[in-house]
Symmetry: none
Subunit: 186 residues, 4 copies
DNA sequence: ATATAAACGAGACGGTACGTCCCGTCTTGTT
DNA sequence: AACAAGACGGGACGTACCGTCTCGTTTATAT
């Protein structure tokens, strides 16, 4: 058997990718530049990731894991507000915002990456939202016939929409969004 | 002795850009390829547009003009439904969908283009929505304190969200969206 | 019509190639290094030459032209001695020696280059030798049935042989060679 | 306690090297490819040979041993003709020709290999030729002052010359060569 | 017969160069 | 002056190998 994967190189590559996205735009970074900055051979990137986008996806996913893990306090709307606020925080204060924008950009000409982005970030969010909804309905917080899928699209879609178009994303903005989306189901 | 701008070349370039976007993804097309397919020198593109994205923006804007012009029938929600349905139609049956996705992608690493996209496509939509809202409020169709800006974000943001993530965009989907967004203001 | 070929770049490339061969061995030089040293884009080399070897062949051919032009003095053996001595001089004092060794090396895995080497360097030499032989035979200096083709092979082959194997190549060595080869035909 | 060298691996490597040289040119084969084809780890090659050329030299030397062993029949020129004919046979019918061309090519940028090639193939031939010459001179077949070193250069150099330049190498060609070289010494 | 250390297959690693594509600028001659 | 054609210096692509470096896993003595 061969020497197995070198964890130090993996970290150096992900760190280099994140740090470069923060400074430069998506297509101003190159695999060559990531390799150079990480002190790594190009092949070591190509060996483990199919594309530049896949590297960034892996880096981005790591930052996101904390947010998904937020607990269920018994107040559905408040929990969603907390989660959305955490996402806004992540977007505006860490490298996650630029990284996510890169993924969106790269995904538009790389179906595999777009699918991976969905599977790794959106699908878990859908599942999380579904489970929270079910519990809220059991508790009687929400009408049983509420169209939770569309509600989720609206809530997370509008955040992505404003991120992508570089429109302001302040926590207060969430108030209006939540009021409109949850008006009919309380 | 001064030749002025050659309209035939302009059309050939826009047509080539649109047709290539339909077939290939965004960054699989190049200015060289557009020039080649249009039978045009590269310089002729660089002379009139600052970037590949600007060419596509000009092509995309042309397709969009028809939709904005939809009349005000006196039923606000119905009018918005009509407009959104027209946008869905445009996205799914013409080259507008792929072109718009390209613009989003290109904009993530080209702030000038992102701004141009906002000014030429989103800002007019905001203005149109504002005017329609005002008239609806005057007619008593909508509460005077409705947060129309957030409502617009939700409506058009969710369409863009599903477009970008290659999720289905069928007309019936609009029903749920409209019901949620307009629940509180009727 | 396009801008035509840039003579300055051509010279810079050939000069860089020759100077690098002098310092380093054949496969220690790369097209990238030639381009770098010549201050030229790689594509400018690939545009005009099919391979590294072809660049060197062109450079080598230039140095050689002077030697072929030696006059016919009326003494065949003396003329050939003069020519061979000039070749030895070229090999030992200019970059021609290393360049020719490179071409031999490259030709062993590039039939096109080997053929080009033959056409541009060996074939002219054969023709030159044939013509000189014919004149010498007319003058009665040489027997009419002399096997001039084999004689030429022996004369120039042995020089190449000693060059290739890095054996000494002093002018006096030619005496013995000429004595053996021309013994029977005087 | 130490495991000693694995003869099976050695054979597999040499066989793979020879078979690949037959099919592809010198620098189209790589150590990786030899290792792959031989079913051997790369390190096993690096452990025992300093370079790709050294592997080929070892392989080539094996094929050559039979030729050197040809006996001394008492007719010097005939013996040399026999030996040269055997070399031609070896070159044209076995993998020795391509292998030797590789060695020449590799040697042009690897002085160590060039030296090894000389020591293992050329030097023994010089010694063999010297001994045969001495015996022929004792027998009165050849003049005592014959310049045997240059004669040898001419005889074997011309064969290598035609091999390297991919010129025909038929047995009849030897007649002309031998006649010229041995004309003055009989 | 057993332990033990070198040799082995496999292949990951930091690199260099490959030959190609495209960038944005430029030059040339044509319309 | 605008145009088509395309050469130019340059940068990045994704691939192939380089020679070095672990990894376990044979395997042939030296006990």
């Amino acid at each position: 058997m061969p020497a197995s994967r070198n964890e130090q190189s993996r970290r150096a590559i992900l760190d280099a990718a994140i740090s470069m996205i923060g400074e430069l735009g998506y297509d101003h970074i190159s695999i060559e530049a990531i390799a150079r900055q990480a002190g790594v051979g190009k092949q070591t990137i190509y060996r483990w990731w199919p594309s530049k986008g896949a590297v960034i996806l892996e880096a981005a996913t790591e930052s996101l894991s904390a947010v998904v893990a937020l607990p269920d306090t018994g107040d559905f709307v408040a929990d969603i507000r907390t989660q959305l606020a955490a996402i806004l925080e992540l977007i505006t204060t860490t490298g996650f915002g630029p990284a996510y924008r890169c993924l969106i950009a790269a995904g538009q000409s790389d179906p595999d990456l777009l699918r991976a982005l969905f599977d790794r970030i959106i699908a878990p969010n859908i599942e999380d939202f579904r489970a929270r909804t079910a519990r809220a309905q059991q508790r009687g917080e929400m009408r049983a016939d509420a169209d939770w899928q569309t509600m989720r699209d609206l809530l997370y879609g509008v955040v992505e929409y404003r991120l992508i178009h570089a429109m302001p994303l302040e926590p207060e903005y969430l108030d209006g969004v939540l009021e409109i989306v949850f008006q009919g189901v309380r």
